[in-house]
Symmetry: D2
Subunit: 336 residues, 4 copies
């Protein structure tokens, strides 16, 4: 970290500042230029409150040189991490597709969808049992019963399951879940992240709607700081002024996150756009931009046959998409 | 809710759609215009999944006519709500100032600040015991010890205390807290909101960094749907592209939220701007725009005397501000 | 357009409203439902001031059913438009790469880059002669001299040239330019758009930093309303809260714009990210998502050999990228 | 400006970099720390392309210490600027209200509104003759005829007029206009700004929808660099994700712009919110936050009596507002 001081600072204040920094265990390297005095800090600055230092009245400017994340940082771990999800490996040259319905609705539904998506080549089954809904009056999921049905579907198909947790107190219920998802709205629910850091299950961490990539990696860091390195990042659209799509899928996050971190990155085009016909072009783009996988909503409910538009694909559409995605994954020299 | 159908829809599909809507307990009023067929829905549409209906392939457009929030809606409760915070009333013609340090650091610190802010006219004491921090390596607060110190300060000064909860499991620890704060990052931690809906304590709910006013009111609705009507809304800046201020304080939210809802609205200029000298002008604007109170960070730590800039005011600055705010509150015909 | 009236509107006000609408040449179709009265408008509503109608005090809600753009609308022109840029065709199954330096600096520079990018497969040459710069003190381009140098480079290589106009008074200078670019900052410089509508040259219209896709198409409509249908849309990143990239490239705009409009869409990954190493992954994604071309900055200035990072590729990097892009364009079944 | 170099840079590259910087007329002050080499630049760095320097491969980080604007910078001009608008002074302890209709529609209309707003205390008359409209099919203003009508209204009432320019070629038409407005969409129409820098008329410069305060001041700098120091800044809302208001009024811009610059700042609550009932609370807040004036839309068209809601106030509402604003301006110790 580099501190640039304001012009002609009081000597006593500079000394007090340096003393304060030394007390934080940091060595300082002061260089007095013609116009500005610069203090370079040597040591672990990750605990240092940047806000506070910036606020010291003789400080003009604070420049952080190293990223604030460590365990998630590629500099600390140059090779790609591969996350083992009950045998399904996510990362590096492997490409995985997580598919399934938005919500688990019934045994028949989840098992049928599970069979369908497996037949089309999905390797992980998603399905919501606890649903974060903007309205308290909307359907909130089948809860523990939903988890049981997911496990039924896993037994039938062998697909490891991915499902969202909303409450630290539910961790016991997730004992047999293969991958625990943290939703966008809970990306900075730090107590939940810390608790997940104590387990060793893979965590699929979704980027918050208005969170920067750095904050996203800091949330991964929360989990990893607890000792759980099994984190999969998931970009699912950020909130912008555009209204034609539900959110704006930030595909530039894939190469940037993979540059900054060794963790795998998957893309959820279903939630990002909220429009089923947009899933296909953005899934293709996700493969090309270097993502490690996709998360796609697939429904299979004859009662909803009317719905052709929403964000879910039906199994036939999903099957067509998967045939195309396989060709593309091979084109990239990856395995699926 | 009004559905506009696409031109020349298949008759059978229209019938299926109407049947589906009727099954949801809604009466339908169909009118066939020259160019478009329109279906008006009569009944409680708050449970209806708008996304799903929009996605029905014969539907061109869905227009919601009534707001999705009920308990928080001013239409249901035309008078302003007044929230009683252990005797300190927030709302309507009353104006309250919540002040105190970012974090509780020591008994000496919190008691001294509490005395100072009380002397200047603050009526509620804030102080963080559980701190949501972007980095897992940053100071996370004194936790239960911090709560104890806050209660000490309350005993000394009589000021009711406001402090943030981050975990549903900590509710017991908050038994003697007067007002429980839900931070911006937890605004859509729905499980936490539901749990707070079961208690009867006042909840200070902060707007999420990237949440619309409607989502904000829906989060209030989560608490109120559980039976706890004691919600105070707090605007604390939203995330925009601007970088000169930490966030962009949305003062237009005050009149809009008060139009849509009967709940009181307070403003937190300290967090919104992240800059202490901006607290004063924005606090003045908050009074003028019709806010019901302010939440202001005040530190009192001689060891940090170097820091004149950050987002906290020192007690002298706070005292000066309060003298001015009192004049302004009186000018508005309110009491403080 | 559908107007939903508030409950129990005054009869006289409804009549006045209908009269006003009829005076605008619109037929009205009134249907009185149990709870709401709905007025459907038949005729050309594109001139109707939606803001004003929304503000009529008996109007609850105005829903526009048809898009406000006509000439640019795919409904009016179902097949893809192909824009002929002095023999280079942009659109449909063809994929073009526009490449060249940010600014034209010297004859040697522009001719050398032109030869290099042509050799690598670029089919259009870009280069700025008039440069929109945030600071009045920054280099503003070579102006007319820059245009002359571009024409030299065209003579040498045969590549049609694309360059930005900033002032309606410069149109004469652009007489021999093949494609006139309108920059992001001028996307809503309506007087400039109108003037460009009078010529028949292809216009490369860049999306504004904070403009919605609808506004983008309305700006295309300004040009087309004047009779010039030769518009190429260019997505170059939108402004969001993210800071790791200069802007956020909105690749979902490609399928959405192509759904709404028949105009070709090209992607500028250089300006979107501001980082040269991100050009490659996003260029790949642009091909996969269905873009009709790319616009890429290439510099060739030995004096700047130090710069390996900025948004420009050097000729060797560009050549490597082009080899890969060609394979991808073929994979998509398009021609380059 | 401070450059921090990457660890262990090649000596030859450092030398080349320093040579390049010196060639730009900058002195350099190199200090080699334990971990990083730092280069301080001394001299005028406003012409230096920061992007390019950042991209030099041995450069880790570039920190600008001084703001890139000069003429607009308060450091260069510590006292508030007062802009004389044909006798009406804007800035410092004076508070002016600019009022009038969105568009000039007829002689009767503009003269009637002018008389009304003058009677209520407005000191400048606004009215659009050239209207920037998203749609080419919408009413674009009366153009030269509109300007003539404004001048009629000025003759009748003595109120100096403020009206928007959209085209450099119209400058002659604006010869008798008192204050020339640059709209939000043209804030970075640099050729227009340069042309306005050549005249000496006051320019009311509106902040672009998605422009930072720094970019806003740089656009003021464009005008001032030409020698015209008569710039009034106008904040009129920025584009965010919120949809309840048309834009989000950024009142924190007032103290920040006034800290950074000596130019006066006025607030346009009508355009910011797009909702007439919100004009009042936000106008009050604007006075309190320290703005130097307001710009308010007032219509006076009996034919539109139906419209009570849109962003314009009617003369009675405006008169009521002005009575209140006067009290507030006095409360602030300013004159109106």
């Amino acid at each position: 970290m580099i501190l640039v001081l304001k012009q002609n600072p009081e000597k006593s204040k500079v000394e007090t500042l340096i003393k304060m920094l030394n007390e934080q265990g940091l060595a300082t390297n002061v260089s007095e230029g013609e116009s500005h005095t610069i203090i370079g800090l040597i040591g672990d600055t990750s605990r240092l409150p940047v806000d506070l230092i910036s606020a010291v009245d003789i400080v003009e400017n604070v420049t952080r040189i190293s990223e604030p994340f460590k365990a998630a940082n590629r500099k600390m771990h140059p090779e790609d991490s591969i996350i083992d999800c009950s045998g399904v490996k996510v990362g590096e040259g492997l490409f995985q597709v997580i598919a399934g319905p938005c919500s688990v609705e019934s045994e028949e539904q989840i098992i049928e969808v599970a069979k369908d998506v497996k037949a089309s080549g999905a390797t992980l089954l998603r399905g919501g049992a606890f649903k974060p809904r903007t309205s308290p009056y909307a359907f909130q999921g089948l809860h523990a019963d939903g988890l049981k049905l997911l496990l039924e579907a896993k037994k039938e198909t062998g697909l490891p399951i991915v499902t969202e947790i909303m409450n630290v107190n539910h961790l016991d219920l997730f004992a047999d879940v293969d991958v625990i998802q943290v939703g966008a709205r809970n990306m900075q629910n730090f107590d939940l992240l810390k608790e997940l850091g104590k387990c060793r299950k893979p965590i699929l961490l979704k980027r918050g709607l208005a969170n920067t990539m750095e904050e996203f990696l800091m949330s991964a860091e929360y989990i990893m700081a607890g000792g759980n390195n099994n984190v999969i990042l998931c970009e699912r659209g950020i909130r912008t002024f555009e209204t034609k799509t539900r959110n704006t899928l930030d595909l530039s996050a894939v190469p940037m996150l993979k540059k900054l971190s060794h963790l795998p990155v998957v893309i959820d085009p279903s939630h990002a756009t909220g429009i089923s016909w947009m899933v296909e072009p953005l899934a293709k783009a996700a493969v090309a931009v270097g993502a490690d996988g996709l998360m796609i909503e697939v429904h299979n409910n004859p009662a909803k046959a009317l719905c052709d538009g929403a964000q879910s694909l039906n199994p036939v559409q999903f099957d067509t998409l998967m045939k195309d995605i396989k060709r593309r994954v091979e084109f990239e020299g990856k395995k699926m």
